[in-house]
Symmetry: none
Subunit: 216 residues, 4 copies
């Protein structure tokens, strides 16, 4: 575990700047050390390699979000069918789903710079598939939901990729907000629309077919 010595802080500060400016692959450890006024040897005393240096900058945030998502999904898995039905029909203003999105958004805006680093500059590092990992974490749940939906609206041809796409797109929406919207308040308005969008889209996949068949 790294202690927060002065040297470590200087390295991390300059690493941040460099990775942000050039992306993981094109960043230069030499530049980082030079700007930090430290030798490369010092860097290697604290960090195993380039990848660990990058990861150290975003690891906490990634874990915090991961925990948050996991708690949410374990909750939702316990939800009975009635709650599910309600959520589906949009009678609940602020569904659990929307809540977790808002929470994640909040964490990301708390340290927006770090979030941007993680989400836009990680290619080449071991963090490059962090989004996929998030998506996979939530996919299981949507797979269950899809199975229930299929019973409610039978007869429609549904791609087996839909749950994964949905999990994926939720993340994508969040990333969009972080990368395009500067102020958190504006992001929250967008996230409200996004939640409606996701719910509406999800329903439409089944319901649209229902218009032409037997609707529930």
């Amino acid at each position: 575990m790294e202690r927060d010595t002065d040297t470590i802080l200087k390295i991390r500060r300059e690493a941040f700047r460099e990775f942000m400016e050039k992306g993981y692959t094109n960043a230069s450890l030499r530049s980082i050390c030079k700007e930090a006024g430290v030798t490369t040897g010092a860097l290697y005393f604290f960090f195993k390699d380039k990848d660990e240096l990058f990861s150290s900058l975003v690891k906490e945030m990634v874990e915090e979000i991961y925990v948050m998502m996991m708690q949410h999904y374990s909750l939702e898995c316990e939800m009975e069918d009635s709650g599910f039905q309600a959520a589906l029909e949009g009678e609940l203003e602020d569904t659990e789903d929307e809540k977790v999105i808002r929470n994640v958004i909040h964490v990301l805006y708390q340290n927006r710079e770090k979030a941007l680093l993680l989400l836009t500059k990680a290619q080449g590092s071991s963090m490059e598939d962090v989004l996929d990992r998030f998506a996979q974490a939530s996919e299981v749940q949507y797979r269950n939901m899809a199975a229930r939906m299929k019973k409610l609206y039978p007869g429609r041809e549904i791609s087996p990729y839909v749950p994964n796409w949905f999990a994926h797109d939720q993340i994508e929406g969040i990333v969009y907000a972080i990368t395009h919207i500067d102020r958190e308040e504006e992001a929250l308005v967008f996230v409200g629309n996004l939640a409606a969008y996701l719910r509406g889209g999800w329903k439409a996949i089944w319901a649209e077919a229902g218009d032409k068949g037997s609707s529930p």
Copy 2:
């Protein structure tokens, strides 16, 4: 215009392999030439630099899709309000929107490998923002549509980022298909669901509020 000499073909084949394996930035021109059994000088006889080599592999496809999208959007801009209304309410099974998505998907699956190269390995090259450019091309249109929607469903707080997000997400759906689904038929099923999803999501952004306010 490059002729398809033997050398050029060998270079392009190995370039493809290398870029696919390591991504644009980490690919090595040395490796490419070595595998192709050609000197680096020969490569530079045909290609100005690394970027041009990469671009040459995907340029045609990009242009084909670009033209396709442009034609579509110019058509849709001429559509009168009645058509718009119909499209919106989903009475048209296969909207123009859906058609163009299917066409794009088809082109991408014709040369799926190239599509994957373009969509997942271009970071660092001049092609890295090709998706943004596609999204921007369609955003204008959704901005118009959003304005009309706002008149139909007034009183709902809509983020100004919604049209851009929507344009963006359409592209994202297509990329999802290409990168996750191997067979075109399966992709087409997914794309059918995706079209419903997009329509449903778009409507829901305005309509959901309408349930609680004054619906049209």
Copy 3:
């Protein structure tokens, strides 16, 4: 002998531009051919190598000047002592020496661009010591003159390098004019001063000592 085909003219024109811009060593044959709209093969049909291409641009001028200098020096060698004495004492306004300088200057200003190419951009080519060769051509003469001077003004310590330096500096003066003065008329004024300078300097080397010893 090269004929003046269209191709040859284009190559020479662009070669001129490139050598002028970057100097002999840093000039690129590739660039020259590209700008001339010609393949490198064509260049090598007309010119043996880079050096021959460069030389071809300035050879005529070099030879013209060389001949001019040679004629002058053969004349001057035949001059008897009385003439020498007269020239020395500056009673002859326009000495032979001054005449040849004026002639050389005229030739150089006729094709000033070529002169600049030869005098400032030849380093690395076989023309790089052209000035030394010019200087050597005239040195013999000044060595003779120095011997006569020594008899007239004995007792002064004269370096054996003086005649060579004098030959050298005469050339240097001409080069100075060409490289620093744009208009030939202005150059001619300068050359008038230069001739006085050279004569005065030459005399002073011996005479100055004479002031303190026994003057002739």
Copy 4:
């Protein structure tokens, strides 16, 4: 400030050899490192780039001479008219001018090899106009002197380029000594003649006309 580690010494020694042999542009850093038994990485640890490596070999000498010239010129500027007159008429054997030339010559001969490197092999490096810079430093002074001369000997047509040429030629004389004369003692004899030459030449530019007009 570079310390004189073993590696640095080896690099500098071989760099010297290579630059001397091939000139700045054609020298190869690879050759230097190979001969020094060192990797290119090591070279770049001590020197920023090729230019800095070259400069490091001659910088000290350049600065020493620059300081020397500056001190001299600031002295001479304070000289009153009487001193000027005396210097002009050659009554002072060893003028300040001659002193500085002797000093510069001495410094150059102290490290003659370095001097040759600087004066004959720098083309392409940032040191390539070092002579111009030296000449410019002294030109101002000769411009002043020329103005005074013009008052003493009016009516003669003097080119405005004369002072610059004179500054230039003084340097050229020194360069001539260094590049053509091996032993310092011989150079000093030459320099004595050179000083007389310069003085005599300078006076002749104005005086010669005076013979035919009104002499002072």
